[in-house]
């Protein structure tokens, strides 16, 4: 069942179980043939097809760096997409990432169907997958589960978007593979492959954005050393000033970021290891106009509908602000076993330090002394055996252990100190034939947790509270290919997560929303049963993917308003408490990309989600509004010096969110909006250097709008028109990246 793919012709087939394959009607030309199978290094051969029978033999060897999941790296081929996963998976490959470089990670992901973003101003953006975010999403960076501070909507993932060579989003529960928290979905960020055996190569990217005078620079360099070693270094830096709405400067919304990463790899025969280290550092300004004292202040700000002060543009970042540092060191190793299976072990250490600075401080300088700081350290180890294919069956078995501790700094605290240890064991098997794939798995996770909240949450001495949580995750999935160009995938997945520390022990006012939030120490596990079905079609003229899902959650944890407001010396605050209810999320997402006439292509994508409580049918708050995006792309004829040049225009239309609980929010959902984006891109080859460039104008007509999931929507519009320029210059051989047209 090796995949045989002819990427240039958009054709492919699978071998039978003896490894034989057959393709007819090939052009009498030079053809690139790729052979792929999970767990094996793909092999590419270029052959000249002659009249009559042609034979091409290939022997695949085990991958140098372990096995990938049931996904292989090149995505342009029909077979790969059609049989990608029993789950609904979306991928941003290197080329698509290039077109979005410089955006926040959340902003990049929001271009995928089913994914939206929860923003706190221009600098903070969190991915929302099918209506779920934060502790209901797992983020995997370079193979290691990201352990950051995800306590609030204003805590964005601590990852350098430039470091990604490929991003994959799994929509829906994936508890078996990713453990606790993979209820809403998974974001996997994969660095570029190490250049084993290659000479020195690399690239430089430069991005500039007009709206906030944001400049970003990224550079990467790597090479193979001898037969067995390879390394890569990558660094990026960015600086942005205040963003602008069509009418106002969003005061203190600038940010800056400096990131470095390095990877060293060794392989020989069936063994190898990879050592990866990265540092992420950012300072984010928070819009000063959203810093309010009490509920009365909030109501006056909402009524005014615009900032009380006219801010001037600046690059300076003052308090309120966040300073975040995230360091990761991971080591993974794999080796072949005498049985023909592979053993993989991986360990990762992460340190996440977050300091948040309040607008004013009595005991010190607001810009120097944080209102609170948190230091989260996590260590994880993971061992798995990837089975060699036996007949039609392949899979993996493994165990992981993660331990973490979180400590507060000297002043203030958002969440109490805690430490936790999670142990898990799983088995995941696939049965693969050319028409049908079945996939099933089980996982068990156990978490021990000790936190040190104040005795009655609000006051008293710190007391230890120890809790344990455990449950089973499971998956059953199928891919069926009734016709060569069509596949139907369906998946039932069960996942769970323990309540978050903030949900258990929070106590205090949330600045910006003037909500008084109280934790609930009695919360138990939150469970999800997700069913989804995906139809995929890939042919020369048309690519289509449409998914429908239903995610039933037992004990969904969310903030619910209390009857009595909380009266304090600072004024009155509406009171909210974490509760657990049964809820159901349902939705549709998908995209279509079609060749219209000649060089004109059209594409469209949509995301629709509904969430409500099962018993009362009350709508859930903060569900993304319905959205559709449609556009046209005109590809120019390739020239010797210009490749893949294209212009495109897109319309993005977001409806008003009409499904929300009455009497919970402080302002009605904002009106729907329609934005127009245009852009052009291409690769200009100068000498032997292919320079990729793009010019985009987002929100061409400078429309003033507020998204329902913008946390600043009470105070100010979202940013207006933004002109961006991107240039990507590779160097070294092997970077002759011909931009083949791809669907997405």
């Amino acid at each position: 069942m090796v995949q045989v793919v002819l990427p240039e012709l958009d054709r492919g087939t699978l071998t039978d179980s003896d490894g034989r394959y057959h393709l007819e009607g090939l052009p009498l030309d030079s053809v690139l043939v790729e052979f792929r199978f999970i767990g094996f290094e793909p092999v590419s051969r270029r052959v000249r097809i002659a009249q009559g029978e042609n034979e091409l033999h290939a022997v695949l060897s085990e991958t140098t760096y372990g096995l990938r999941e049931a996904v292989v790296s090149a995505e342009s081929q029909a077979d790969v997409m059609l049989t990608r996963s029993t789950r609904s998976v979306a991928v941003l490959d290197t080329r698509e990432l290039e077109d979005m470089r410089g955006q926040t990670l959340g902003g990049m992901l929001a271009e995928l169907p089913g994914v939206t973003s929860l923003t706190t101003g221009p600098s903070i953006s969190k991915p929302v997958i099918r209506g779920l975010h934060s502790q209901r999403i797992v983020v995997v960076n370079a193979g290691v589960q990201q352990e950051g501070q995800q306590w609030g909507g204003e805590h964005a993932p601590e990852i350098d978007p430039f470091s990604a060579g490929r991003i994959e989003v799994i929509r829906g529960a994936a508890g078996v593979e990713y453990g606790v928290g993979a209820i809403g979905g998974v974001v996997r960020i994969e660095p570029e492959e190490l250049p084993f055996g290659g000479p020195i190569s690399g690239s430089v990217s430069i991005n500039a954005f007009s709206n906030n005078r944001h400049g970003a620079l990224s550079a990467a360099v790597g090479r193979g050393q001898g037969a067995n070693w390879a390394w890569r270094l990558q660094g990026s830096a960015r600086k942005a000033g205040d963003s602008r709405t069509p009418d106002h400067v969003i005061g203190n919304s600038g940010f800056q970021e400096t990131d470095v990463a390095g990877t060293l790899g060794w392989h020989r025969g069936q063994s190898g290891f990879r050592l990866h280290a990265s540092h992420f550092g950012t300072t984010l300004g928070l819009f000063t106009g959203a810093h309010i004292g009490n509920f009365d202040d909030l109501m006056r700000a909402i009524e005014r509908g615009q900032p009380a002060v006219d801010f001037d543009f600046t690059f300076d970042i003052d308090a309120p602000k966040q300073e975040i540092r995230h360091d990761l060191v991971s080591l993974s190793a794999h080796t072949g076993l005498p049985s023909g299976d592979w053993l993989e072990v991986q360990t990762g250490f992460q340190s996440n330090r977050r300091a948040e600075f309040d607008a004013h401080r009595r005991f010190g300088d607001p810009d120097e002394d944080p209102a609170f700081s948190l230091d989260l350290r996590s260590w994880s180890a993971d061992a798995r055996v990837r089975q060699r294919p036996r007949g039609n069956i392949t899979g993996n078995v493994g165990a992981t252990v993660t331990t973490q501790g979180n400590k507060n700094g000297e002043s203030g605290f958002l969440i109490p100190n805690f430490r936790s240890t999670t142990v898990s064991g799983f088995i995941h098997e696939m049965w693969v034939t050319d028409k049908l794939t079945l996939d099933t798995g089980l996982r068990y996770d156990y978490r021990w947790q000790r936190a040190f909240p104040k005795e009655n949450l609000s006051s008293g001495p710190f007391v230890p509270r120890t809790t344990t949580y455990s449950d089973v995750s499971a998956v059953l999935g199928v891919i069926w290919r009734p016709l060569p160009h069509w596949s139907i995938a369906s998946n039932v997945g069960r996942a769970w997560r323990p309540p978050g520390i903030n949900e258990l022990y929070n106590f205090g006012v949330h600045h910006g929303t003037a909500q008084f939030e109280t934790g609930n120490p009695d919360l138990r596990e939150e469970r999800s049963l997700n069913v989804d079905a995906t139809v995929r079609h890939v042919s020369e003229r048309l690519t289509l993917e449409l998914s429908a899902y239903r995610n039933a959650m037992d004990g969904f944890i969310f903030l619910f308003p209390e009857n009595e407001p909380r009266v304090t010396i600072r004024g009155t605050f509406p009171a909210f408490r974490y509760v657990q209810r049964d809820v159901v999320l349902r939705g549709l997402d998908g995209f279509v990309d079609a060749k219209l006439i000649g060089r004109l292509r059209g594409h469209a994508s949509t995301s629709i989600v509904r969430g409500s409580e099962t018993d009362t049918n009350l709508d859930l708050i903060d569900m993304p509004a319905d959205r559709i995006r449609a556009g046209l792309e005109w590809a120019f004829r390739d020239r010797p010096w210009l490749d893949g040049a294209a212009i495109h225009a897109d319309v993005e239309s977001v409806a008003r969110q009409d499904h929300f609980p009455e009497g919970v929010d402080f302002a009605p959902p904002p009106d729907g909006y329609t934005l127009v984006h245009i852009g052009s891109s291409g690769t200009w080859t100068r000498g032997s250097v292919p320079i990729t460039f793009s010019l985009d104008i987002n929100n061409v007509f400078d429309v003033a709008y507020r998204d329902y999931l913008s946390r600043f929507r009470y105070f100010i519009d979202d940013p207006g028109r933004n002109v961006s320029v991107r240039v990507h210059i590779p160097f070294g051989p092997g970077n002759n990246s011909k931009r083949t047209h791809e669907t997405h």
Binding site: H291, R362, A381, E410
Partner: protein, 183 residues
């Protein structure tokens, strides 16, 4: 065997990482979780040589149990008032800090209830720009016999919004309403 070599390499690193991961997170008894609070507001009213203090007291900051003393005022009297503010959790005199940064603060006094029209308050102190602060003030209770009213005391902090002496800011540090009985 190649994989034995690899394991030899990996195991010590796993061990080191394990040590690094097992860090204690017990809170320090001192210094952790120190928050800036305002727990007590004291309004002192003086007339005819007699002083009475009224407190709004929230001993654990934002916790439960805000106690507000009712005020009893005499009809047809002019009071001299002053305000003191404390953080009893951390033992701080917040009033002194407000006095130091008086150009960034202002107290507003909002009468309410049935006899609201009979109460009027004027700040008697000024910051360096000549704008009122309200740490000291004069309260006039107009004639008219007994009645009930309320007095809302608001402390606005001016960080970005300029202080103009008239308008409140969106950053309220104190907002307390005292019930008032006029005798």
């Amino acid at each position: 065997m190649k994989h034995i070599d690899t394991l030899k390499f990996v195991l010590p690193l796993l061990f080191i990482a394990l040590l690094a991961g097992c860090d204690s997170t017990d809170p320090d008894p001192e210094g952790v979780g120190e928050e800036e609070l305002i727990t007590r507001l004291v309004v002192t009213m003086t007339a005819n040589g007699q002083s009475v203090s009224y407190e709004a007291n929230d001993p654990d900051g934002d916790g439960t149990g805000l106690q507000i003393d009712p005020m009893t005022l005499q009809s047809g009297t002019i009071y001299t008032g002053s305000i003191a503010v404390f953080d009893d959790v951390n033992g701080e005199d917040v009033g002194a800090e407000i006095a130091e940064e008086d150009d960034e603060h202002q107290f507003f006094f909002v009468p309410g209830g049935g006899a609201a029209a009979r109460l009027s308050v004027v700040a008697t102190d000024q910051d360096e720009n000549g704008l009122p602060v309200g740490l000291t003030f004069q309260l006039t209770v107009a004639d008219g016999g007994s009645g009930t009213a309320s007095l809302q005391v608001i402390l606005s902090h001016f960080d970005d919004a300029p202080k103009d002496g008239v308008n409140r800011s969106d950053e309220t540090d104190i907002d307390v309403t005292f019930p008032v009985t006029i005798q």
